[in-house]
Structures are given as C-alpha cells and as structure tokens.
C-alpha cells in the first residue's frame, strides 16, 4: 500500500526538460534517473563556465517554482524567464501559460544537489560540474 502511495507521488512529480543546447566541446546534459515505474530523480553534467536552462512541467508550467543549490560555489541556480507559452491544464480547456524555468551555471568542478520545489511537487537534481577540456587535448569519441 505504502509503495503504491509513493509510486503515485513520484508519478505526480514535475518533469524537468533541457531548454538550451551545450556549447561545442562542452557538456550540458540533463538525464532522468529512471525508477521502476517512473522517473526517480535527475542528473545533470555541466562543464565549468557553462549554463543550461531547465524547464519544469506538470500538466502545465510548475507553479510557485523555487530552486536552490546546496553548493552554489559548484552549481549556481537562477530563475529564468523564457517568454514561451505552453499548454496549461486540460487539453480541452486549451489554456496556456508561460514556461516555468531556471538556469544552472557550472562554477567550478565538483558535486552539488539542486532542489526543485513547486506547488506541483519537487525534484532532486544531482549536478556534476566537470572541468573544461585541456587546450589541444585529444577527445574520446567512443570507448
């Protein structure tokens, strides 16, 4: 019974989506960590000096979005204003609202956890900030 309740809570948590690409040769990748039934959490790999915009959605743009980082020296978070309308609520109602989003900035190599809170639920984001590639260093295409 408890598992079912947790499961339904997890299913009701917001979905996070990348809204910006990584610059060439740098990392800015958001991945969902899948649980048995639904997304358990998210992980984000970000190069030092790189920013990524992430939107929050659950049946519409997340309401009352608040995002914090437990280690701003590694991963800094800021609110973002995307100015894009997306469907909000029932498809039948046809309502739309402005995307709710935030930006994560890789400040220095290390680990941080970003906590996403909203009226629609919360999410955890495990952030790894990696150092930029060395100048002229060969890159690995595939292992």
């Amino acid at each position: 019974m408890r598992a079912l309740v947790l499961l339904s809570l997890a299913a009701c948590s917001p979905i996070l989506m990348s809204e910006s690409p990584a610059p060439p040769g740098r990392s800015a990748r958001l991945d969902a960590v899948d649980g048995f039934w639904s997304i358990k959490s998210y992980r984000l790999e970000l190069s030092q000096g790189v920013a990524i915009a992430v939107s929050c959605y659950r049946g519409g743009p997340c309401e009352k979005l608040a995002v914090t980082s437990d280690n701003p020296a590694v991963a800094e978070v800021k609110p973002a204003s995307l100015g894009v309308l997306i469907p909000n609520g029932s498809m039948l109602a046809g309502n739309r609202a402005t995307t709710a989003a935030f930006v994560v900035v890789g400040k220095q190599p290390g680990l941080a956890r970003v906590h996403v809170r909203s009226k629609d639920g919360g999410r955890e984001l495990a952030v790894t900030v990696v150092p930029p590639p060395a100048q002229g260093a060969p890159s690995t295409v595939a292992r």
């Binding site: 910006s20 920013a51 800021k78």
Partner: protein, 207 residues
C-alpha cells in the same frame, strides 16, 4: 526577425542567445565593415575587450533593463558592460533583468592570438606594400587570428613607424585602429604589436 532588429546597428547578424530572446552585437557604426566583424560569433582574443550592444526580441515586451554576468570571470570578465577576455576557454554570459531573472545567455569562447594581419577600413586585407602620395591618409585596422580563425575584441595596439618624417601614425579614437599620414617622400616600415604578435607593412610616400 532578430537579425532584422539588429541590422540598423551593425552590418551582420549578432550572436543569438541560447534561449533565442537576446542578441549580443558589437557597438559599431552602420556600414563600418571592419567593426561589424567584431561581434562575438568569433572567439574573443585574449587581452581584448568587447563592447556589446544588447538587443532583445521578447514577445509582447520592450527590452527590460538588462545586465551581463560571466559564469567564469577568470576566463571572461564583465567590466563596465564590456566583456574582457583573460584566458583560453569558454564562459556563459548571462543576460538578466534587475531582479536576477535570466532572460538569455550566450557562451563566448576566448582564444590566444597567434597572428596579426592588417586590413583597410573597408575590410580589404593588406597583402603587400602600400604607396601613398604626400598628404594622403590611410586608415589601417589590425585583425587578430588564431590559426585560420578570425578573433573578435578591441585590443590595445602599439603602432610604430620606422620613419616618422615620412609616415606618421595618428590615433583616431579607436584602441587598435590608426590613421597613417604621408608627410614627406620616403619609405617607412609601419608595425603593429598586439599581445606579443606583430604585423608589418612597407609604406612608400611619393611626391
């Protein structure tokens, strides 16, 4: 649409933000081809400054008050609204409103200067010796390169003329561009040095 908004300011499209709302363009006069090439689509040269003009294209809104902030100030700093390139790498330049909300960001690369070339004001490359008549003026602009890639940014250039009585080098308000004035018949080697890289052109003044 974004390019159209910026076109009256610069001849050439600007560097669009990752969120497609704001562009950074060089502060250039219309039809100034040499200046317009300095927009940060190219990497900025180490030791140079880039003075951006921020243009926003936000639906249903005029441009709010915007501020620039660097994600990696050791690579690229923001000083008095200018981007200052310090060391090789890349940094996101965040464009935010007064309340700290990020409207857009641009990743700007910084690269070392490996070569300097000279061009005329219209952008045409100077490939050989220059002949001038006495009293004639010619404006030269240094171009910074990293191998085959043109770099952006305004550099503090040091110009010298080996024969000041034949050719004098005059400031024209730019940190890197200079006006050569042919003063008397003779020959001179005009050299520009930027961040350890140099370029030299032979100038002959005829009566």
């Amino acid at each position: 649409m974004r390019c159209l908004l910026v076109l009256p300011v610069v001849a050439g499209c600007a560097s669009a933000g990752a969120l497609h709302q704001v562009s950074l363009a060089g502060q250039c006069a219309e039809n100034d081809a040499a200046c317009a090439r300095r927009h940060p689509v190219a990497p900025l040269a180490i030791g140079t400054r880039f003075h951006p003009e921020v243009a926003a294209d936000i639906a249903g809104s005029s441009t709010p008050t915007l501020h620039l902030e660097s994600a990696a100030p050791d690579v690229l700093a923001v000083e008095d609204g200018a981007l200052v390139a310090h060391k090789p790498g890349a940094s996101a330049v965040l464009i935010s409103t007064d309340d700290g909300s990020v409207v857009d960001f641009v990743h700007v690369f910084v690269a070392p200067v490996t070569r300097v070339s000279l061009a005329r004001r219209d952008g045409e490359r100077v490939a050989g010796a220059i002949g001038l008549a006495v009293g004639e003026d010619l404006t030269l602009v240094p171009a910074l390169w990293n191998d085959a890639q043109r770099l952006g940014g305004d550099a503090d250039a040091v110009w010298t003329s080996s024969n000041e009585s034949a050719v004098s080098v005059l400031h024209d308000g730019s940190s890197d561009r200079r006006r050569l004035r042919a003063r008397a018949p003779g020959k001179s080697k005009v050299t520009v040095a930027i961040n350890g890289a140099t370029a030299t052109v032979d100038v002959e003044v005829v009566p």
